[in-house]
């Protein structure tokens, strides 16, 4: 699988789909923030702009963040070739003031979200 980092001059990395993206990219010299390393703390969040990942183990993101393309690199594995934006410059919509911009019930984290009304 090939990972392209669009905000690092389009740098590409060949990665093993059985390993976490964080481990694969850091082993090849990518400088990435990280914290808990079990998918719970959001420090390593990046934005997926093309392709698919499996990040079922993450528990940090709410559904709005997932819909905005965020992935938790310490537990996410690539399912296809992917393109990422990394680092805090990709975090433009990751953080939200909840008093200014509340979540709708379907935008909560998966364990408490209710299905979107149509």
């Amino acid at each position: 699988m090939i990972v392209t980092i669009s905000n690092r001059s389009g740098a590409t990395y060949e990665v093993d789909p059985r390993r976490s993206l964080l481990d694969s990219l850091r082993d090849q010299g990518a400088d990435l923030p990280f914290g808990c390393k079990y998918g719970g703390c959001i420090t390593c969040a990046a934005k997926l702009t093309a392709g698919k990942v499996d990040q079922r183990r993450q528990v940090a993101l709410n559904n709005r963040q997932i819909n905005d393309g965020y992935v938790i690199l310490c537990v996410a594995r690539p399912v296809t070739d992917i393109t990422l934006e990394i680092g805090v410059e990709s975090h433009t919509t990751l953080y939200r003031n909840p008093f200014r911009d509340p979540l709708k019930p379907h935008e909560l984290k998966a364990d408490i979200a209710t299905p979107k009304e149509v």
Partner: protein
């Protein structure tokens, strides 16, 4: 009484200690986009020194991404009678990495050095705990509240270290029905410990979703423990008055049963005490109203993330991190606090956007009072992800430390015009300062047996 251990014989002796000349605060790069380790900053607080109000030393942690937060001493006045102990080591937990950094402050107090790291992986494998928060010493032993299990789920428990910082296992014999952990304080003469509730690390670490409060993912209870048996025996359900009960403090007077908790989201102070019948009681004594914001659908709470009791037990200090004010209350009658001081700095209400020439990002957050009660040092960053939600400009501007002059006799406080430490100007880029401690012990560390 002259003795040979650390600290002071009584709170009254502590008040008479020499004025602090150095102060330690942690500063973080975690969550800022700067790929550098968090560090312990030494700040010169001696007004006669040429480097007054400056960072004079930085001790970097060995790794990146710890998120240093609170810290604690290896020994305090609870070891006053123990000549084999000294207040030498500061323990700096990393909330995200779970590493405990043991820092030697005695060899050169101006330039502390790393003594030892207790690895987060070892803590997880031996105790199934993560998310270290409050550090207290118990005589020569150390306990640390851990907010989650190894996978970041609540309620976590308490890590027990011996005086050589070796993992002894879990401190508590049972967590009972406790749903969450956070802060704790104990009063040994009454065989009681009180603990409070934030949330599971997996809930609070990614940031604050207000909606999760209604889904009971954040705490609203206080727990009273049989301290010797190490089991919780009574729970106080605070309900809407006590959403996110964070910091808990007993009076410093070891005979007192009065204590206080700041409920961050409700922005209330809860007071507890043991009544004449020997039963624990609680009441709400301070209620900070939410403030409407012209453009936002939900009124803004104060977010009272910390409280502090002066060493003479006369004043309670609290912050409203989102509103932007620090307050001082006279709690001589703990049932009837009287507001005696209020100072604005930063905040979302725009009342004091600049202090001493420095543009503020964030609001008053952690604070430490001098032992004599005259100087309150205040910092602006809460927690990297929460900072990023409420004060995104802190990423470019960094945190700030200011000092307020307090009148311990008549009450009142004012912003000191000569002191400001701008962590936006740090050599590696803007960092964020949080909790502060003095080498000689402070108003949030020492407990008397």
């Amino acid at each position: 009484m002259e003795c040979c251990g650390p600290g002071y014989a009584t709170p009254a002796e502590a008040i008479k200690a020499p004025r602090e000349k150095l102060l330690y605060t942690i500063a973080i790069y975690t969550g800022t986009g700067i790929q550098k380790p968090d560090y312990l900053a030494t700040v010169d607080v001696d007004p006669d020194s040429p480097t007054y109000s400056q960072v004079i030393h930085r001790l970097e942690m060995p790794g990146i991404g710890d998120e240093l937060h609170h810290m604690g001493w290896n020994a305090c006045s609870s070891c006053f009678d123990d000549g084999s102990m000294s207040r030498k080591y500061l323990i700096l937990p990393g909330v995200r990495s779970n590493n405990l950094h043991i820092v030697d402050t005695a060899i050169d107090p101006r330039a502390p050095r790393l003594h030892k790291v207790v690895e987060g992986a070892e803590i997880k494998s031996k105790t199934n705990l993560s998310g270290p928060h409050t550090v207290h010493c118990l005589g020569s032993e150390i306990i640390i509240s851990m907010l989650g299990d190894a996978k970041g789920e609540a309620p976590g428990g308490y890590l027990h270290l011996n005086k050589d910082f070796e993992i002894q296992g879990r401190w508590e014999n049972s967590m009972g029905d406790i749903k969450f952990g956070y802060d704790f304080w104990y009063q040994p003469r009454h065989n009681v410990m009180v603990s409070s509730e934030w949330a599971a690390p997996n809930t609070f670490m990614p940031g604050f979703d207000l909606e999760e409060v209604g889904h009971l993912k954040y705490g609203r209870e206080l727990h009273f423990w049989d301290f010797e048996k190490k089991v919780p025996i009574e729970t106080m359900y605070l309900g809407e008055d006590g959403l996110l009960p964070l910091e808990v403090k007993f009076h410093h007077d070891p005979d007192s049963t009065h204590g206080f908790c700041g409920a961050a989201l409700s922005s209330n102070v809860i007071h507890w005490w043991k009544d004449d019948a020997g039963k624990w009681q609680w009441e709400k004594i301070i209620d900070v109203e939410n403030e409407p914001h012209p453009d936002w659908p939900i009124p803004v709470p104060g977010v009272m993330s910390a409280i502090l009791i002066s060493m003479d037990d006369k004043y309670l200090y609290l912050n409203n991190w989102l509103h932007g004010d620090m307050r001082q209350y006279d709690i001589s009658d703990p049932h009837n606090p009287v507001l005696t001081g209020q100072v604005w700095m930063g905040g979302l209400l725009g009342k004091a956007p600049e202090i001493n020439g420095v543009k503020m990002a964030g609001g008053p957050q952690m604070f430490q009072l001098s032992l004599d009660g005259k100087r309150l040092y205040v910092t602006t960053s809460l927690f990297s992800t929460w900072d990023n939600q409420f004060y995104p400009e802190i990423r470019e501007q960094g945190g700030v430390m200011v000092m307020m002059d307090c009148d311990p006799v008549n009450g009142g406080m004012t912003m000191n015009p000569d002191f400001i430490v701008d962590f936006g100007k740090e050599p590696n880029g803007p960092s964020r300062c949080h909790e502060a401690r003095y080498p000689g012990g402070d108003c949030t560390s020492d407990i008397w047996l």
